[in-house]
Symmetry: C2
Subunit: 298 residues, 2 copies
């Protein structure tokens, strides 16, 4: 199949996603064109999904891979409290994969894109030895309102959305709801938008709370104390909850005088700890918690 | 080396590049944050460079690869007449490559980034079997002024910047100026900005003019006639000039009453043909030119 034909089939899928009004020009030129709103900031993130690192062709359908590639980046938008605008999808794949594989990848991605109204605005295609996707997402927030991980202060309380460890459990057992959750994580976009007026700091949980909370505490130059039970996914162990990656829940802090609701949209919220003055570290059950989450280069 | 350490060394290089005033927050959070200008559009592009497809570790230094990864995307900004704002760099690499390799990659990229004042605002790092970089670039243009490939009209004249075939020649002989040009192509950013008030349509020459001019003619629904000698790089053959990829010159059209200067900044301009009414095709020496440029999926 020629590149031109492939691009046409991708354009067809892109047209099934409602076009964001900011996007003036999508797939087809050297760049896509966006007309930003004067009173909004734009946020940008990019994430790889790579064969044999983030998935295998034996366990993940092309639609699962397309879904997950977009979900990872959408989760970063959620962490900033941003509303999705558009994405660019770079896909490299081995010669042997048929055009049906590619179409199925984009359909999986399109399913999620339609739900969150994020336009597919462009990307790149190339051959490679292993399937490699890199998805860049752009989101918008009212000027100055983007949530950050560096703004937690002593006295703030620590919260998480949803439950933890489900993805690690799913990866281990490869069945049931946990496996589905691992393959099709739910980016907390709507919760992120609601958190703009609640959270003092936020980030997403992609590499396990032991590592990610240490990152938040380092960025904010504060100490984090987990003093309440973690909300574990059904069947997940304490280890799964502390160190398991890819839950894509939101980790956030709020000033102690802020009333944090028990639910944000359809996701429940749990208070798990508090922020203290001190050197960046995470304390759990009275001891310093070593970061054992997923480090791409350990 | 831990991911955290790697990110620190990349942040250090990012700080050697002047920060674009639009960029509020760079590397370090879930997303970078950009505050756009009310009277400007933003354009976005992304391009892969992949080991054994776009380079080999035997022939390209890590600094060459970093340079080229950014140059490819900058060339797309040039094609839109855009001024560079920021880039996101996704880099996947095998375990065996040392931190020195990574630092050298980012230094090569940084050299070009400083010249064109494009901030390194974030990205992703992952392990992979082959070195894979995906660089997303954002540029800005005054509202409504982005150059497109779909706006050429019958009667327009066709031009190219610089000379053609040098990159193909360099790839074949692997020595001299042509080889340097292949490894370190010069994105025509300044020429692109000047073309905003001159060109009726534009794109960059990444896959060979036989294929790229057909793309412009298809996007604009017109016929393109090459009726003048192509400006060939010294030593390049007609084949190199017609079908050789990766020259990263600009291909553009202008209304016949527009005076196109012989030079745009330091790059010379050659008129090579004209646009006619008709079915999308490229005519060369009185015959229809079959597209033989680089198709990633042929």
């Amino acid at each position: 199949m020629r590149e031109t034909e492939l691009i046409k089939s991708i354009q067809k899928i892109a047209r099934t996603i409602p076009r964001n009004e900011r996007l003036l020009e999508g797939i087809g030129d050297d760049c896509c064109i966006v007309r930003p709103n004067a009173d909004e900031d734009l946020v940008f993130t990019t994430d790889f999904v790579i064969e044999n690192r983030h998935f295998t062709l034996a366990t993940h359908s092309p639609a699962d891979i397309g879904y997950k590639a977009l979900a990872r980046s959408l989760s970063d938008l959620a962490a900033m409290g941003a509303e999705p605008v558009f994405c660019l999808v770079s896909l490299a794949l081995p010669e042997g994969l048929a055009s049906r594989w590619v179409a199925s990848f984009y359909r999986g991605l399109g399913t999620l894109a339609r739900r969150f109204r994020i336009s597919l605005a462009g990307g790149d295609l190339a051959k490679a030895e292993r399937v490699t996707a890199d998805v860049m997402c752009c989101g918008q927030v009212p000027s100055g309102k983007a949530l950050r991980r560096s703004t937690a202060r002593p006295g703030d309380l620590i919260y998480v959305t949803g439950d933890l460890g489900g993805s690690a459990l799913g990866l281990r057992h490869k069945r049931g709801a946990a496996w589905l959750r691992h393959k099709r994580p739910e980016p907390r976009v709507d919760a992120g938008i609601l958190l703009r007026s609640i959270a003092s700091a936020a980030m997403d949980l992609s590499d396990g709370i032991s590592l990610d909370l240490l990152r938040l505490s380092t960025a904010s130059q504060v100490r984090a104390v987990i003093d309440a039970p973690l909300p574990l996914a059904r069947g997940a162990t304490e280890e799964d909850g502390l160190h398991g990656g890819e839950d894509y829940e939101l980790l956030f802090t709020a000033r102690p005088d802020i009333e944090v609701p028990a639910m944000l949209g359809d996701v429940h919220i749990a208070r798990i700890g508090l922020i203290e003055r001190g050197k960046p570290a995470v304390s759990y059950k009275g001891r310093q918690l070593p970061p054992q989450g997923f480090d791409h280069f350990l």
